[in-house]
Structures are given as C-alpha cells and as structure tokens.
Symmetry: C2
C-alpha cells in the first residue's frame, strides 16, 4: 500500500493483526486520519497476530503503535486464553447457535476503554474498531446496540465528554460480509498475506484451517473469487480441516 | 471486624485499599455476599494502597483477591501515573472547579470492564464500586449517569446479558459525604488504620496530608468527630500541609 504523509485528525485504531482490523486500519487511513494503533498482549494463544499487527502498523505509516499488556488469561472464561480446545470444523449454523467458546469476557469493552483513554490523552475524537455482526459471529460485544452504548459511556466517563467534546466509535465493517471486507481491503491495497486470523496456529504461525476464524476467512476469500494468501498447515501434516 | 462464613450470592468488589473501597467491601459483606475482590497494579504512584487492599481482602474473609496488571502509565494523562506533581493544599472550591490532574483517563471504565468480565466467569451478577459524587471530586467517571450507562453497556456486551441475565453495578457510597462514609464504616467495624488514601505518600507509605485525597479524608474524620488513625508525615519532616 502506498503511504502518503497525513496531517488529518488523529484517530485510535484497535489493531489485532487480523483481516478485519487491518482492513479497518486501511479504511481509517484512506479517510485521511493520522492513525494511532493500539494492540494488546492479553494472553491470547494466537500471539503471532501481534507480529502481524506490528508489521501492518509500520507499513501503513501509523503515527504510533502501542502494545499494552492485559491479564485476561488470569480472568479466564475463554478458549482463546485458556487450555480449552478451540472448536473445529463447525458449520455456519453451529457457529450462530450460541456465544462461541472463543468469546473472551469483557474483551471489547476493555479494549475500547483503553482506546478511549489513549484518545483522550492524544486529543483524538475518533476510535476505529473492526467488529462485524454478520458471518455468524455470535459475539454479544460486536452488536451495534452495544457499540452505541459504549460510545455513550465513554463520553459520560471522560474529561473530553464532560467538557463538551464527543468521541465517535467507528465500526466501518459492522454490516459487511467477509467477502465485502476482503473486496474493500483489496481495493485499498491491503496485503492479506500479512494478516493472521487463526485461533489455533501451529508453532510456525501457520493457520489451522478448521477453527471458526479460518473457516469464515476461507469462505470469504472463496466468495470473493480470490486465493487466501496466508499459509495453512498442509493436510498431510495433520491439518484438521 | 468479625467475619462470618458466608454462602450468599457472589459479588465482585473493586478494592483499591482506600477508605471508600474498603467501606464498600464492608457494606457488600454485610449484605451477605461472597466477596471476590479485584485490584489493579496500574503504575500508580501510591502503590502502597495495594498492600492495604491485600490486608483488607484477607481480614474481611474474601473468597478470592485478584490483582491484575494494567499499563495505564504507558497511556499517561494523569498526575497519578506520570511525573507531574500532585496538586497540594487546594481549597474545596478549587477541587470542584475542574476535572482534577489526578483523574486517570478511562480508569473506572477499564476497572469496571474487568470486574464485569470476572463476574461473568464467576457467575456473579453484582459488582460493587466505591465511587461517590460529593466531596468536590470532579471526576466524570463517578457520576450516576455514567454508572447507569456502563451497566447497560456491560449487559449488552456480555454473554450473561445476551442470555437474559442482568449485571447490577452497586455504588452504595454514591451520594454520601466522607463523614457519612466514615460513620457507616465505623458501624460495620472497618479498621481505617488499614486503609490508604494519599496520592503522594513518602517511601514509608506515610500520607502527605496535603493532596486532595488527604484533605477530603481529614475533613471527613473531623466532621465525624473522630481521629484519622493513619500515619501522616510530621510537619517537622517537611509535611506540606
């Protein structure tokens, strides 16, 4: 992606290193914002995503990239931060039937609260998050009513909000399918080889091809008529897909 | 304080080790809850408060005490986590004139979001926080409309809320003066010698007697007609009050 100097308003972008958040960063950049990227080392098993986040923050010319520690693994309650097995090979109807095991309690509120705190210190009024409600996600903290409520809470609880300013939470992917997200990202020059979505990568960082995140990603690329450029564990090495 | 075995419902209590949160813990305990105490090492200069929190969690027979790390000092924006001087000897009208320098951006939202996450994992529906709006605090994230909005956000963003349960945020001290808080705590047997309020203690953990927290605490004890049992830096050693 070609980077131009940017003197627009500042925005904080939550960047996991995955397909959705990297596309969100590209959209934020294309709208002329100076991007301040925020990532978290929260005890996630797919810690390789932080390497991708660092690469993307650099290649998109972000003004700053902050990686903060959180002890979410000590709170537990998720297959992403605990020893529970990540579910594999689920159908779309299974994915949408309940809140998935990979839901991390409080995660988006904790991430957004840090983003609003940093935005306040930076003097930024715009926060970008790459959540979406389609693709059978089943995560309660990806719903539009949740995001509107968080925005109100952040404004009520901040110096900026209490002094007449107003934070806006931007979720540009909210109602897009994975296909639409990928198509938009390709138009903006996103290099999806440098994104990581898998919940259960092998020690080399290769994607399992069978967790919900891999299945939705592969479906999105298939529907967009494009090959997924990330590396998957080959079937002969025990790929579970 | 006398501790009785307790088999009531579980509650998460945000416990800083200060006067307000320790009184809140005593109130929660007196209402028959099993108390799960949550504290944070967030880069605060008054880290001695965590020692007091540990002592109080133990002496109140809490079911569990979790101390989590946060990188709020890397976000900055506060005299409590940075190198800015803590304001001293301010009058009450100065304290109420604006958001104080000791306000930590996002702190209560980040604390409450962790509390809701832990509550969800524990199967608890009640969260206690010791905020209050009186005593000239000026903190935007201590207002009742903020707490109501957070409660709604936590319910919308959680598995419990999306499956028909309901978190309640309890702020029993919300509209009490420091005098009333102290009087209630004394009735419940709180040992205020084991609480810490000062924003700027010396290396021995002694209170400065001149920051907003010390002045409000001293005023509260004076109005309650009681001596404050914590140790203050004597004037001859350079106490700034």
């Amino acid at each position: 992606m070609q980077i131009r100097d940017c003197a627009g308003p500042k925005a904080v972008v939550l960047l996991s290193g995955g397909l959705d958040s990297t596309t969100t960063l590209a959209i934020c950049r294309s709208q002329g914002f100076q991007c301040y990227c925020l990532s978290f080392a929260y005890g996630q098993r797919q810690v390789v995503e932080l390497e991708r986040a660092k690469e993307n923050a650099r290649s998109y010319g972000c003004a700053e990239h902050l990686v903060l520690r959180l002890d979410l693994d000590r709170i537990g309650g998720s297959a992403l931060t605990g020893s529970d097995k990540v579910p594999k090979n689920r159908s779309c109807s299974e994915m949408e039937s309940s809140v998935p095991l990979t839901y991390v309690p409080g995660r988006n509120t904790i991430f957004l609260a840090h983003a609003a705190a940093w935005a306040e210190v930076l003097g930024a009024l715009d926060i970008f998050i790459g959540v979406n409600v389609l693709d059978y996600s089943g995560y309660p903290d990806c719903r539009p009513e949740y995001l509107r409520s968080f925005e109100k809470t952040a404004n009520l609880g901040s110096r900026i909000g209490s002094e007449g300013g107003h934070f806006t939470i931007h979720a540009p992917l909210l109602s897009w399918s994975k296909r639409e997200i990928i198509q938009a990202g390709v138009m903006l020059g996103v290099d999806y080889a440098k994104t990581h979505s898998c919940y259960d990568p092998d020690p080399l960082g290769r994607a399992c091809g069978a967790c919900d995140a891999c299945l939705l990603r592969l479906k999105g690329f298939a529907e967009a008529g494009l090959p997924d450029p990330v590396i998957y564990i080959p079937a002969k090495e025990g790929r579970t897909a």
